[in-house]
């Protein structure tokens, strides 16, 4: 990989990797450090990347490993996020946005990760399976469970199902 190709990767994927990293740790500073480390390691290990088409899942894999490594080294400061520090989208219903973020944060990582990769990154189930090192069936099951869990939170625990509503 040449320097120009590497720069292209950074410009193409740093934003989505930051978002993925943010949802891993919920800390913007740690997320940026994770992205920095991901690209540093990607450059060091560039000989391993034989096909440019697989660069994206490869970068996600590196980031996941970096996050796991960081967790081994120290406990991440994920509990001291100030409410006012939570990033918000412009012009969106803030209360709803905040509620959805909280719900998303309540998902365990094994369910949140594939959901992020699919919703943010547009990954297929096969690509998610490759990044996470699990089978496609497991990915599909996790995606289904994640959406069902969010749906329950979304509608409220005691709410009737959509089938009940329409019948």
């Amino acid at each position: 990989m040449s320097k120009a190709e590497f720069e292209h990767l950074v410009r193409a994927y740093s934003a989505e990797l930051f978002r993925f990293a943010y949802w891993q740790c919920r800390d913007r500073c740690v997320a940026e450090e994770l992205v920095q480390e991901t690209f540093a390691r990607a450059w060091s290990a560039r000989a391993q990347l034989r096909d440019a088409a697989t660069a994206r899942p490869w970068l996600y894999r590196i980031l996941r490993n970096e996050h796991a490594r960081l967790h081994e080294k120290k406990s991440l400061p994920i509990d001291d996020t100030e409410l006012s520090d939570l990033p918000i989208s412009d012009g969106i219903d803030l209360e709803r946005d905040y509620a959805v973020r909280e719900q998303l944060a309540m998902l365990s990582p094994q369910y949140r990760e594939p959901l992020l990769m699919q919703t943010l990154g547009g990954f297929s189930c096969a690509e998610i399976a490759e990044v996470m090192g699990i089978g496609q069936d497991a990915v599909m099951q996790r995606l289904t469970r994640a959406r069902l869990a969010l749906r329950r939170l979304w509608l409220g625990e005691g709410t009737r199902t959509s089938k009940e509503k329409t019948s």
Binding site: K3, V10, S14, R19, R28, V35, E82, L83, D97, L150
Partner: protein, 239 residues
């Protein structure tokens, strides 16, 4: 395809449930209702996931990497901002005597001036940074904050001369903009004041690292130092 199969397919991938699933949805009011709700949920989910990306992230990644490339040919302290400084030129002239972690306070101060000059957007910003964010930034650097010298107009995580990262804060004070850069990993042997390019920088030890105060108002830098001593507390003592 029946209703159960449709919902299973829609929950796995709401945007691409497949041709058969969409055919079923068109003919089943109950599943159509479920699908509408699911897509609304997906839209909200995407908005929530789509957190703002820090400005200049890609540039900072490339900056750090460029530094890595340059390190093959120059000492590690040759950060782009510092490369232009006379201090660095002098150091190179001395025969590559110093290594990155051994930046002298004078060289670090010169690097800070270059950094502030490069980050003009920080001085121009009027972000109205919430106090909680400021407190968090100081806490992240291992300190505690008392009173602020004015309204915070900018706060961000930034790369530092010679490597590492710190907190870059700017305050609106009655005497103009005051920049505070917290550098938790940068130990210095002694405090330093440096006047360069119309800026005055004061480098002070702070906890396990150091901090830099930068002002265009040379006369008021002493006042800023007093503020820092009184209002920034670090584990193991004051600034």
């Amino acid at each position: 395809m029946n209703c159960l199969e449709f919902r299973r397919a829609a929950l796995v991938d709401p945007h691409h449930p497949g041709h058969e699933a969409l055919e079923h949805e068109a003919s089943c009011p109950s599943c159509a209702h479920f699908y509408r709700e699911l897509r609304m949920q997906e839209e909200a989910l995407y908005e929530a996931m789509n957190v703002p990306v820090p400005e200049g992230l890609a540039d900072r990644v490339l900056l750090r990497q460029t530094r890595g490339w340059r390190e093959r040919f120059f000492p590690r302290f040759a950060a782009p901002a510092l490369a232009a400084s006379l201090a660095l030129a002098a150091a190179i002239g001395l025969g590559w005597k110093f290594q990155s972690e051994a930046l002298t306070p004078e060289m670090l101060a010169a690097g800070i001036v270059a950094h502030v000059e490069e980050e003009q957007k920080a001085l121009r910003a009027e972000q109205r940074v919430p106090l909680a964010r400021l407190v968090t930034a100081v806490k992240r650097s291992g300190g505690e904050l008392g009173e602020t010298p004015g309204e915070t107009s900018y706060a961000d995580h930034c790369p530092l001369p010679g490597g590492g990262a710190g907190e870059h804060l700017v305050f609106n004070t009655p005497h103009g903009k005051l920049t505070l850069i917290l550098m938790p990993g940068k130990r210095i042997t002694h405090p330093v004041r440096l006047d360069k390019d119309g800026l005055t920088v004061s480098l002070m030890p702070a906890g396990e690292g150091s901090l830099a105060l930068v002002s265009e108002n040379r006369e008021k830098i002493g006042e800023a130092e007093s503020w820092a001593r009184e209002n920034l507390r670090w584990q193991g003592g004051r600034t």
